[in-house]
Symmetry: C2
Subunit: 648 residues, 2 copies
């Protein structure tokens, strides 16, 4: 425990710190001893067989530990988690230690075969799968109960002994990545493969989607500009724009699935087998037998959960929706008041005042969204879902419904109750722009500024003549452990989802929305990149094969936008003028067009294959090979029975 870090660094060149474990201050010695022993214990004895070292700083021992693993251990771990890597023949295959020689860039001394993010993911997986054997409690903490098979790390986390586990940044790599990512002003794609190597697939896929979505919006933006510049208000031009928008939004969502398949095939996650889902850390219940695994673990009755969902969560969400509508009505009162004020005292100030209610309302919407977010998290966690995926689905559903109503209810009201297209355009513009500014500020710039101030203070405290890359491990760990934790891509996707709503729901009224969206997304790429590289702790890589439920959310939004746009076009005075005799004909025509567009959308979604032909072929080839291998096995087995068969 007394060795200094410089010694360890040189003497054990093998040990590369990958993951940091921070225990609570004052954790009992016996607990630490037991925990570190379990981590280094051999697999055969139920340990994780990893390497662990205490971090010794100038202030002495701080209950911070660095975890690493030998190269061989990491390779075996890669097999356990089912990593898919590229073979020498350019096909993607599940890595196994015995077939390691067939993989591209594999050499026994090539320690870069696994990326650092992969190594950290493997270590996280091994730590999380370190399970209690016969321990009934965590030594030293009799109130922290264990049962055979319970993940030790999860219990340590829930009982507060373990403060956090996080992967270390690689200052060298990070510098390279941030330079090529956002360091220089350039026109071009993001280094998605590098991002994936450093941050893992989930985050790389988000940035891939953000980039793709921005490019996809450009045609809409380009077509939208002349509408603003020349103040086109003709009916046929609007219809053209809206129709283009609707078909385009279907196409881009379908094409994204193909792009996503290409990316995740290259990254290997498209082929990765789903791991069996363990209960989420917060899940609690009485000990019982899990009917699926047959193991003893906490069991929570599904009926109780249903009751919580339908008797508490559902009414609460409805109440929030009602409250949101109530706030909206206040906004319309304010709007009316501003209008009256403007009429009474016609001045520059009063015309500026016209925008104030919208801006205030946009800010209030953002605040309500954020508060609701916390409430939704609390409620969903209280619903006590067993699996993380089920928790996520319930959370996303709650948040999406509320945010959709909160953001768009006023616009729907203006469009379909007040029939005020001018107000709709003004309101849409104010909401969109205000929310974009607020988001950029709250998400990236504010944390960046706070982080920068903190870093300056930290450096002052330490002897700070060094640059970032020269920091000792101890200094690096101390700096990074204070950084904020990146909570996943949820908020980022949600922002894009709402933006997609602003752009597509009322596209025929405000073609300029796409322009603002493109501009916002370009800065968003930079600020999100900055956020990932400078503001937050490095997140653990998370393999993923798609953007999951967000695909469905975006598709639903594009279906809703067909309906709203058709109604808006039908309501425009130019279209009205086309049917001077009968409003009936107008409505019937609009309804017919809407149904046709919806039918075309569904047919297009059905006809465009989700995976490009090339990827389909590669997948078919892999499937064929595995079936052949199985057949070979059966055949080999049958050969052995050959003798039996003859004499039967």
């Amino acid at each position: 425990m007394g060795e200094s870090w410089s010694f360890l660094d040189t003497a054990e060149s093998n040990f590369r710190p990958l993951v940091v474990i921070e225990l609570a201050k004052g954790t009992k010695e016996e607990t630490i001893e037991w925990f570190t022993k379990r981590i280094v214990d051999k697999k055969a004895d139920g340990g994780a067989q990893l390497l662990i070292k205490p971090l010794v700083t100038e202030n002495g021992v701080e209950n911070i530990y660095l975890v690493g693993a030998s190269h061989l251990r990491l390779l075996l771990g890669a097999e356990t988690v089912g990593l898919v890597k590229e073979c020498s023949d350019n096909s993607m295959r599940t890595f196994t230690y015995s077939s390691r020689k067939t993989f591209k860039h594999f050499a026994d001394d090539n320690h870069d075969f696994l990326t650092m993010a992969e190594c950290q993911y493997i270590i996280k997986h091994e730590l999380e799968n370190l399970r209690a054997k016969n321990e009934k409690i965590i030594p030293g903490y009799p109130q922290a109960k264990l049962y055979p098979g319970k993940s030790i790390v999860r219990r340590l986390l829930t009982s507060g002994i373990l403060v956090q586990i996080f992967p270390l940044h690689d200052r060298e790599e990070l510098k390279k990545l941030s330079h090529s990512w956002y360091g220089r002003v350039k026109v071009g794609y993001q280094p998605l493969d590098d991002i994936r190597c450093y941050f893992g697939e989930t985050i790389a896929l988000y940035f891939g989607f953000l980039e793709y979505f921005t490019f996809a919006l450009i045609p809409m933006a380009v077509i939208g500009i002349p509408y603003y510049v020349f103040a086109w208000e003709d009916y046929d031009k609007y219809v053209m724009f809206a129709t283009f928008n609707l078909l385009w939004s279907t196409v881009i969502l379908e094409v994204w699935k193909r792009m996503c398949a290409i990316l995740t095939y290259r990254w290997g996650t498209l082929l990765m087998k789903r791991q069996f889902e363990e209960p989420r850390p917060g899940f609690h219940g009485v000990l019982g037998i899990n009917p699926v695994t047959g193991r003893e673990e906490p069991v929570y009755s599904s009926i109780k959960r249903q009751l919580r969902i339908y008797l508490v969560s559902l009414p609460f969400v409805c109440l929030c929706l009602y409250f949101s509508l109530y706030v909206m009505m206040i906004y319309f009162d304010l709007e009316q008041w501003a209008l009256d004020y403007h009429k009474e005292n016609e001045s520059n100030f009063s015309s500026l005042m016209l925008y104030v209610p919208s801006i205030i309302y946009a800010i209030v919407i953002e605040i309500m969204n954020r508060i609701y977010r916390y409430a939704a998290e609390f409620l969903t966690s209280w619903e006590n879902h067993r699996l993380e995926s089920s928790y996520q689905n319930h959370l996303i559903l709650k948040v999406l419904v509320f945010n959709f109503l909160n953001c768009f209810a006023s616009l729907f009201y203006i469009a379909f109750v007040l029939f005020d297209m001018k107000l709709l355009r003004q309101s849409l513009a104010t909401l969109l722009i205000t929310s974009q500014i607020l988001n950029q500020f709250a998400e990236s710039l504010l944390p960046y500024w706070l982080q920068k101030r903190y870093n300056r203070r930290m450096k002052k405290r330490m002897c700070s003549r060094k640059t970032d890359t020269d920091l000792s491990v101890a200094e690096q760990v101390n700096m990074e452990k204070e950084m904020g934790t990146y909570l996943g891509t949820f908020d980022d996707y949600l922002e894009l989802f709402l933006q997609f709503g602003y752009v597509s729901l009322f596209s025929c009224v405000y073609p300029l929305a796409a322009v603002f969206a493109v501009l916002n997304n370009i800065t968003e790429i930079y600020s999100d990149a900055l956020k990932m590289c400078r503001v937050y702790k490095r997140p653990f890589a998370e393999p993923t094969a798609s953007i999951g439920v967000w695909q469905l959310a975006f598709e639903t939004m594009s279906v809703i936008s067909v309906v709203t746009n058709c109604i808006l076009i039908g309501m425009s005075p130019e279209v009205d003028a086309l049917f001077p005799d009968s409003k009936m004909d107008l409505v019937l025509t609009v309804a017919l067009v809407e149904h046709l567009l919806l039918a075309i959308k569904f047919i297009m979604a059905f006809v465009i294959p989700d995976k490009p032909r090339e990827i389909q072929m590669k997948l078919a080839k892999l499937e064929f090979e595995s079936l052949e291998a199985l057949k070979q096995q059966v055949r080999a087995f049958q050969m052995q029975f050959h003798f039996l068969l003859i004499h039967h």
Copy 2:
């Protein structure tokens, strides 16, 4: 070759004839010798390792062969095809020979462990997978080319040397089955498990669906009867009926998925792994390398196929659709003529004449459907699809689009162009009832009558004092080989699909349709059962896990029916009267209700899980076990490297 059958029957009690192979008359001796040798050859030598005996009748050798297999061979074959059977602990598992003892009812001397249908399926699979080794041609037929890996049986079939392969009936079992199925008039379910054992999963699933669908229609029929009896014409009652119908049709389709999962789980096909699809027998092309398998096999350019589809098939289908609409217009002329005639000479005869055009039109529709069916088959086969599934999908799409338009175009025209609800009701009733009568006649009664006449002649020729079950194998084979071939469930599902259209598309105009559908389906069950047991050759069992594309077809129909019913209700004079001031409000309300119903439908489809919780748990358990087994394997492997790890 000279041994008589009675000798073989007693001496080789082991040999049970399962499958009949009929070669063309005058097939060369050398070909027969080579083919039978390949069939009996050992697996290790590339043979099928089956048993084969020539069938000797009074007329001497007729190039008919009986194929069987030893019990052990069948068990090994069950492993090859991946059969899933029930274990002693009631779970379903993929059968392997090494784990055979763990399966329910398994005993080395229990020859009923595999059902006869399964044995025949295994033999069919083994015969189809009997592949050419180094043969370049079929011996004796230089024009019948072979290449390594080509299925011999498929080449023999396509070059006309092999006339047919069919499984033998089991007279004993068939008698039992037909007695419990349709032999006595009873109220109750069909013996689906017995049907599955005898005819395989695809056919059992069709009968399961037919039965389920009939039961599901009963509530609609019950609610529909009072509308007819009391001649209810109130607006609110129609709306209630239509709304109930729409939601009900969604519910029954969702619940069917669950029922289907329960059935196929019990039958093991839900868990059965998909086999790699070989090219369909009719597929041809120049020899090339298949990029997926790397094998040499016929390759046909995808572009050529696309050209055939878009430049020939698509215009042809459009032409047929146009022709169908043309015929429809002739029908309306006839209708007008009949009406005029009735007005001129008001008599009983003339009022009967009113129904004649509809009846003629219904008959013409049926004839056109059947002719088109042949054309579609020819065209799809000419498109030269590589896989049977792709062929089927293109065929089904072609047939569905045409049949839908052909059957319903006149009804749509009457409803939405002529606005004649009385004619719609009359037309719908005539079409529905006529098509049902024609179908029952053409599908079952006619073939049954022909078959019966033929059987009588056959029996007269043979010494015919025996009953069916006492027939010798030779007599049985000779009788069965002349029976018609059952061409799959396509036509049966299509009939149900069109019936579903008649019932749901215009349900609010003619509530009695469901009653006729129920009556038809009850007789349909009996006539289809009769057809399967008495008219056709026994078909090979075909494992399947769902009704496939038909689920989608039925769901699409139920979406279309939401639209048509909403329009119909909106058009009714009673609803009109509710909005005396503004037709606009009426149309808007109808549109709103329609969108709400569609939204409810989609949400219901999304919320109702496709598999019952119980099945989900069982599947999760199996998945967990296989993942655990994999983990164990990896762990065992890692143990071996334990030594290495320490010294690394």
